[in-house]
Symmetry: C2
Subunit: 192 residues, 2 copies
């Protein structure tokens, strides 16, 4: 069944980027292993531990559309026109750029993003890949699952994933756990 999944790499102390939007210490697990995981673009090939590679391949096979915030779209320069996951990307933004690459859709609200992305994904999953969008979707009751790629580091400062939540507590299931190298994959269902 199609699910809406919030997914981020997060430090043990809750940060998904350093104060300058940097992600180096959080994404090491994507390149520290011996198993190649190709993506939809030439400029990105992951090299992961066997456990993370299996986990990532299964997740990539299930994803049908992504939702991102405008900030992430801008700092990645729209992923150069094509997202590594090779699926449609719905961007939540107050404005639409002059040129929108094929495969990208701009919408003005989280609710609209989930609706459009769900249609694009069909029976596959929708993955929310921005912290602020995930926060708003959680508050709107639109998130079915939270997948944390928990990285063994305390960053001390930066951009927090879970902040400004207004509909708390949010109860979660026990997670399924996959132990990678430089990451622990924790996959929770939201209990409604």
């Amino acid at each position: 069944m199609s699910k809406v999944i919030a997914n981020m790499s997060m430090s043990l102390d809750g940060f998904i980027a350093d104060p300058g939007d940097g992600i180096d210490l959080l994404f090491g697990w994507m390149g520290n292993g011996e198993v190649e995981v190709p993506t939809a673009v030439e400029w990105a090939t992951f090299r992961m531990s066997p456990a993370s590679a299996d986990y990532m391949k299964a997740a990539m096979a299930r994803v049908g559309a992504l939702i991102a915030g405008r900030h992430l779209y801008d700092i990645t320069h729209g992923w150069g026109g094509k997202h590594p996951m090779g699926v449609p990307v719905v961007v939540v933004s107050h404005s639409t750029p002059a040129e929108v690459p094929e495969g990208f859709t701009f919408v003005s609200s989280v609710e609209e993003a989930v609706q459009v992305a769900s249609e694009l994904a069909g029976d596959k999953d929708v993955v929310i890949a921005s912290a602020k969008i995930a926060q708003q979707a959680l508050d709107a009751g639109l998130v079915d699952a939270i997948n944390v790629d928990q990285v063994p580091v305390l960053l001390g400062e930066g951009v927090r994933w879970f902040e400004n939540l207004s509909k708390t507590p949010v109860r979660l299931s026990n997670p399924t756990v996959v132990e990678g190298n430089g990451v622990t994959h924790l996959a929770y269902e939201v209990v409604r």
Copy 2:
């Protein structure tokens, strides 16, 4: 070998208590199972999942002394005079109460607390059970391991465990993972 371990129950979004110091949603795993884990006091007996019970019994067998902050000492009324772990407790505080129960030692700094607790613990572990004390001990480079009892809930607000850290990033090992019910036990070593 004796280690200094920071240990707390923490929500997925990083809180170790709600805004009113409440801990109900974080400590459910200590009472939701079928295996009894006795403590050193009559008023506290845990009932845990088999996995958590094994994990807790092993941890309790290793602990030789606890370090707590004055706030925790006060809100628990000094655990009624005896801590459930049945080991000496070193309390970090600016002042010493008029009556100090047997088994409690008051000190004025985190450095002194670790020194005194380590002597009391001998070859057993020292466990730091207060968020602020753990923060200060991390900054002072005195923490060998971080044991997180990670609870599947987003609290949204409350008291954060990891805050105001000045010596970051703190790199951690891959955790050992024990999957309980209502808790995932993640045990990290601090990488120096």
